[in-house]
C-alpha cells in the first residue's frame, strides 16, 4: 500500500522530507497524484509502517500538512484522523 502526506506549500513539503530524513525514515517527495487536491504539487511518500510516526514528528515540529492518504487499488483515501 502506498501512503503519502500532502502539504499546503512546497516549503512545508521539503522541510518535512528533511525532518523525516533526519529521523531516519525513508521518505521521498513525489508529484501530487491527480486525484488528490492539495495546495502544493508535491507530496511525501512514506512507508506505510512509519506514516503515523512521521505525521507525529511533523505535528511536533509544527509543519503544516494537508492530510494523509492511502492508496487502495486505484483509489486514494484520506485518513479520517489526518
Amino acid at each position: 500500500m502506498r501512503t503519502i502526506i500532502a502539504f499546503p506549500s512546497s516549503h512545508a513539503a521539503m522541510e518535512a522530507e528533511l525532518l523525516a530524513e533526519d529521523a531516519g525514515y525513508a521518505c521521498r517527495l513525489i508529484p501530487l497524484p491527480p486525484a488528490i487536491h492539495a495546495g502544493c504539487g508535491i507530496v511525501l511518500l512514506c512507508e506505510h509502517s512509519v506514516i503515523l510516526q512521521v505525521a507525529d514528528l511533523l505535528a511536533a515540529k509544527r509543519v503544516p500538512t494537508d492530510g494523509v492518504y492511502d492508496k487502495n487499488g486505484d483509489t486514494w483515501h484520506r485518513r479520517l484522523d489526518s
Binding site: P8, S9, S10, H11, M14, L18, G39, G41, R62, P64
Partner: protein, 378 residues
C-alpha cells in the same frame, strides 16, 4: 584599501560564500518551487537548508523564515502587510529610511505615528519607550542599532514590553544581525524581523529576509507566481509564500547560508569581541585628536560603528580625502537616517562614518587614526 564601511556592505566575503554562489550557478539547480523533477527538488532542498541555517541563527522555526531581496523589501512587506491606517505605531530616531518611509506612507493614509526623542546621551532607554506609549499604541517599529552612531536600544526590555502590552514588534536587524547574538528572552511577542544578508552575515547583495514569529497575518505586497493555488485570483496569504512571489535568488541565498555558517563556526561572541576591540581602539585614538567631534553616547556595548566630524569641515570632504590620500573607505553624509541627524545637529554637515568588520585589524585602525590626525591639522 582599508575598508571601513561594513555598515553599507561587507566587502570581503569568506571564500565559502563565493564557492556557494558558484555552485548555485553550476547548472545543477532548477526552479525550487516549480515542478517536482530532480533539478527542481534539488533546488527546493537547497532553499530548505538555507531556511534552516537562518532559523538556527535567529533561533526560530524554518517555516517562520521568508526570503526577500534585501531588508528594505522585508520592512515594506512587514509594515504595509501587517499595519493598517487604524494602527498607532511608536518608533525612534534610530530608524532608517527603509523603515521610516513605509511608516510615513501609512501615516499619510491615517495611521498615527509617534516618534520618541533621544535622551541627552543620544540613547533611547526603556523609560522613554514606556513614556511615549499610548493606550491605543498597537506596534513598535524599531531599529535597535543606530547605523549612524552604533548606539543600541535595550532590545531585551523592549521585547518584554511588547509581550506585556501585546504590541506587534517590527525589527530592523540590518545593522544588528551578525554583530551580536539575538537577545535571549523567555517569551517573544508577535514579531516581524527584517534582516539583510550582505552586511555582517557576509552573504551576497540581493539577499535578506523576513522572519515571522507568532504567525502575524500579512497581506501580500507583491503578487505573482507562488507554485501553489494557481487557480486562485489572489496571492496566497500563507507564510512564507506571502513574501516570496516569483523565483527566489537561489545562488544568492546559497551564499547567504555559507556566510551564516562561517559566522556560526567562527563564533558570534568572538566576532562581537573583535568588533568591540576595534571600536574601542578607534575611539581611544580619536579622543587624542583635537578638533574631532564624536557622536552618540559612545557606550561600551555599542555596535561597530563610529560617526565623527573634524571641526566644521563637511563630512564629504573628510571622507573623500581619506579615500583619495589614504585609500581608506568610509561613508559620508546622512546614511539614510534623517531623524538621527536632526537629533545630532548634523543635517547640514553630515558625519563621516567608520564601521568595522571581522576582517579589519589593529593596524588598519591605527592607520585610520593617523590619517584623521593628519587631516585634523590641515
Amino acid at each position: 584599501m582599508i575598508y571601513l564601511d561594513q555598515s553599507a556592505t561587507s566587502l570581503h566575503k569568506p571564500p565559502e560564500v563565493v564557492e556557494a554562489v558558484r555552485r548555485g550557478l553550476s547548472g545543477e539547480y532548477g526552479n525550487p518551487t516549480r515542478g517536482a523533477h530532480t533539478p527542481a527538488l534539488r533546488a527546493l532542498q537547497e532553499v530548505a537548508l538555507v531556511r534552516r541555517a537562518v532559523s538556527k541563527y535567529f533561533d526560530v522555526s524554518p517555516l517562520e523564515v521568508a526570503f526577500t531581496f534585501n531588508a528594505t523589501i522585508a520592512l515594506n512587506m512587514a509594515i504595509k502587510g501587517a499595519l493598517t491606517p487604524q494602527d498607532r505605531v511608536l518608533t525612534t530616531p534610530y530608524a532608517h529610511n527603509s523603515m521610516l518611509r513605509p511608516l510615513y506612507e501609512l501615516q499619510d493614509m491615517g495611521m498615527r505615528l509617534d516618534i520618541m526623542p533621544l535622551d541627552k546621551h543620544g540613547c533611547c532607554p526603556i523609560e522613554l519607550f514606556v513614556q511615549y506609549l499610548h493606550a491605543d499604541t498597537t506596534a513598535i517599529a524599531l531599529n535597535p542599532m543606530s547605523n549612524v552612531t552604533g548606539d543600541i536600544a535595550p532590545l531585551d526590555d523592549i521585547i518584554r514590553l511588547c509581550h506585556q502590552r501585546d504590541l506587534l514588534l517590527i525589527l530592523d536587524l540590518s545593522q544588528w544581525a551578525g554583530t551580536r547574538a539575538m537577545p535571549s528572552v523567555a517569551q517573544w511577542p508577535r514579531t516581524l524581523i527584517a534582516f539583510t544578508g550582505h552586511k555582517s552575515l557576509y552573504g551576497p547583495q540581493g539577499t535578506g529576509g523576513l522572519i515571522n514569529r507568532g504567525n502575524v497575518p500579512l497581506r501580500p505586497m507583491i503578487s505573482g507566481g507562488s507554485g501553489i493555488h494557481s487557480f486562485e485570483r489572489q496571492h496566497p496569504s500563507t507564510f512564507p509564500e506571502v513574501c516570496e512571489a516569483g523565483t527566489v535568488n537561489l545562488p544568492g541565498i546559497m551564499g547567504l547560508r555559507a556566510g551564516m555558517e562561517w559566522l556560526m563556526t567562527t563564533g558570534q561572541d568572538k566576532v562581537q569581541q573583535h568588533l568591540s576591540t576595534l571600536r574601542e581602539r578607534f575611539i581611544s585614538g580619536m579622543r587624542t585628536i583635537p578638533g574631532v567631534r564624536l557622536y552618540g553616547s559612545q557606550m561600551a556595548d555599542a555596535g561597530p560603528v563610529v560617526s565623527l566630524n573634524i571641526g566644521d569641515l563637511p563630512a564629504a570632504v573628510i571622507s573623500d580625502a581619506l579615500n583619495e590620500r589614504y585609500n581608506i573607505a568610509t561613508r559620508a553624509g546622512a546614511h539614510c537616517a534623517p531623524l538621527m541627524h536632526q537629533a545630532l545637529g548634523t543635517v547640514e554637515q553630515g558625519t563621516v562614518r567608520f564601521s568595522f568588520s571581522f576582517h579589519n585589524d589593529d593596524n588598519e585602525i591605527d592607520t585610520a587614526i593617523e590619517a584623521i590626525r593628519t587631516l585634523s591639522f590641515q
